[in-house]
């Protein structure tokens, strides 16, 4: 399995992600979401980049993941910003403090994501590798 890939359910879409730690899993989620939105996982920051601080106290890594992706969806939909990367300052299973690196959106996304769901969301741990699937309501 790649670190991130997209998939479809009958009515919706999702990303399959993995990483060797909490931080890498979340980085994969950002890239997977960009693949879904723009068919492009290698969007990078530029001179016009801006930074959005994101701090979240949750109850689990699943909870952090849903809220992080929800923030990225919000930034695109409302601020017209594409999140290109994540600069993690502090992370554990229930807390994330990071900067979201964004660039102005100069293209229309492939789809409108309404929400990030908890549907069947469970982060699996095997041989120190974390992996999961997240489904988006579109």
């Amino acid at each position: 399995m790649e670190k991130y890939e997209t998939f479809s359910t009958t009515a919706d879409v999702g990303i399959r992600i993995r990483g060797s730690g909490y931080g890498e899993l979340l980085q994969s989620a950002v890239k997977g979401l960009n693949l879904l939105y723009f068919d492009d996982h290698n969007l990078s920051s530029s001179a016009s980049s801006s930074v959005y601080p994101f701090e979240f106290h949750g109850d689990s890594l699943e909870n952090i993941l849903v809220n992080l992706l929800s923030e990225i969806v919000f930034l695109l939909q409302n601020e017209n910003k594409i999140t290109t990367g994540l600069k993690i300052k502090e992370i554990n299973e229930t807390f994330l403090n990071a900067d979201l690196l964004t660039i102005p959106a100069d293209k229309e996304p492939n789809m409108e994501i309404k929400s990030v769901t908890y549907h069947n969301l469970k982060i699996n741990r095997e041989n120190n590798v974390l992996s999961t699937e997240i489904i988006f309501d579109i």
């Binding site: 009515a11 229309e108 789809m111 409108e112 994501i113 769901t117």
Partner: protein
């Protein structure tokens, strides 16, 4: 689970009895009942949608049955096409029984424009709708609302638009009665709406959105019930207009907010088969707050469709150089297909007030029902079931049978058959616009990829769903509408 686990109680009704079916995963509190052909039921078993019907049957206090309509398919929490009721006083409410696009719904307008009079104007109308009405994800509405004005929209729904923001007269307050619940549910707790929901919503009143949302100019192609069609203002050979959209980012955020809140509140306390089925007791603070927020989002959606209707009527006025009144543009009906509402139903012989969740299901109240407009008291309410981009949509009417068999509910649409990835693969090398043009359908969209995801082949046969709906008697066919112009988000 297999087909043989179900009892076929009539040609289109299948029951999974709680006392006979033993599941290791779910303890059913009521039977599960599906309106389907054998083909539809087999598909629903295969795609796990039936498992979701069973999950709902295990919710506490569920009354009657866990129902699934003929367009059943896999969703989150409830399946799409899921219907369930809970006691208003002691029952529960679940955001997963409504969905993220709160009060996603359909509005139908009739006209007295004969197809021939539309003629060469079709192209202009399609381009005008696409250029003037915001479609897609990041497009903001043409209407600029202050926060105070936006909160009034949440409070008053379509009425606020009718009173302050319409131009053509089609959207006048006299027509509000032709909207389910008159386009307004009680909302008086602005403090429970998150700032993020306001941020996402206040620029979107009067926008279509993306995905399967659409505006269609249609032809009334076939009439099955002359009397009802005449009452609905539908005449064979005339043009109709259909709008399909919902509460946009506002409703999506409300749903996310409350799934998150209920999840946190109940962490480790409530065990559900699917985290998306998290719920609150209706009478609890959380339950009351969600219901208020749900009403606000429902009001947003009705306001949204009301403003879009007025904008489209304006485009017809400008293009055909006649007033909306001269063109006979009339609001037939507007109905929600993702909502939870308090209604009276007969449960085990007794009438009681219940909270009915309909997720991808429409209300189908019969002639004489107190909650339908006076003008439809003899016919039953219009039931609007859109098809896919290249196929027919149907208008049906509500029936007493729906009250007896399905909590006054019916199907809501075609339902997807192919995932978006499969649709893209299927349509490789296909020119979707040209293919539809050969069928006399003009398609307008900013996204070619979006069109390929929405090809007609990606959806189930609407005719089979209508046959089941009509055959089971939960709504009866009135008219068939075929698309002439399609504008996709």
């Amino acid at each position: 689970m297999e087909l043989k686990d179900f009892t076929q109680v009539s040609p289109y009704r299948w029951v999974l009895e709680k006392d006979k079916y033993k599941s290791s995963q779910v303890k059913m509190n009521v039977d599960a009942e599906v309106f389907a052909t054998e083909n539809i039921l087999n598909n629903a078993i295969e795609d796990q949608a039936i498992q979701q019907v069973l999950n709902v049957s295990s919710l506490p206090g569920i009354l009657s049955c866990s129902y699934a309509m003929p367009d059943i398919h896999y969703g989150y929490g409830f399946c799409i096409g899921g219907v369930a009721a809970f006691p208003a006083d002691t029952g529960i409410v679940s955001p997963g029984g409504v969905g993220y696009d709160i009060n996603c719904g359909v509005r139908l307008l009739s006209t007295n424009i004969p197809q021939d009079d539309l003629g060469n104007y079709r192209e202009n109308i399609g381009y005008s709708i696409l250029s003037k009405i915001p479609t897609g994800m990041t497009k903001k509405s043409n209407l600029r609302l202050s926060k105070k004005q936006f909160m009034k929209v949440l409070e008053n729904g379509a009425e606020e638009i009718a009173n302050h923001y319409t131009k053509t007269g089609v959207g006048s307050s006299a027509n509000l009665k032709s909207i389910e619940s008159s386009g307004k549910l009680p909302f008086n707790m602005p403090e429970i709406i998150s700032q993020r929901a306001i941020d996402r919503g206040h620029t979107q009143v009067g926008s279509l959105g993306g995905g399967n949302h659409f505006i269609e100019v249609q032809l009334v192609d076939e009439i099955y019930d002359e009397t009802a069609a005449a009452v609905f203002g539908l005449k064979k050979g005339n043009i109709a207009i259909m709008i399909h959209t919902g509460s946009r980012g506002f409703g999506h955020q409300i749903a996310s907010d409350y799934i998150e809140r209920l999840r946190k509140k109940n962490l480790g306390k409530i065990k559900v088969n699917d985290p998306q089925l998290i719920y609150a007791e209706i009478q609890s603070k959380e339950g009351q707050h969600y219901l208020q927020a749900l009403n606000a989002a429902s009001n947003f959606a009705w306001a949204n469709r009301h403003l879009l209707m007025d904008d489209i009527a304006g485009i017809f006025e400008d293009t055909l150089r006649s007033s909306a009144q001269q063109l006979g543009i009339r609001l037939v009906y507007d109905q929600a297909h993702n909502i939870a509402k308090f209604e009276d139903h007969v449960i085990a012989g007794n009438t009681q007030k219940v909270l009915v969740h309909r997720k991808g299901a429409t209300r189908a109240f019969p002639p004489g029902h107190k909650d339908i407009p006076q003008e439809y008291k003899t016919t039953g309410q219009p039931v609007l079931i859109p098809g896919s981009m290249g196929t027919a949509s149907y208008v049906l009417r509500g029936t007493p049978t729906a009250m007896e068999l399905s909590l006054g509910s019916s199907a809501h649409g075609a339902g997807r058959r192919l995932s978006r990835h499969k649709a893209i693969k299927f349509s490789a090398g296909m020119n979707v616009r040209e293919n539809l043009k050969k069928k006399n359908i003009l398609v307008f969209s900013h996204s070619n990829k979006g069109l390929r995801e929405e090809i007609p082949e990606a959806y189930k046969e609407i005719d089979e769903i209508i046959d089941v709906t009509d055959g089971a008697g939960i709504s009866k066919k009135v008219a068939r509408l075929i698309p002439l112009v399609v504008v996709k988000g």
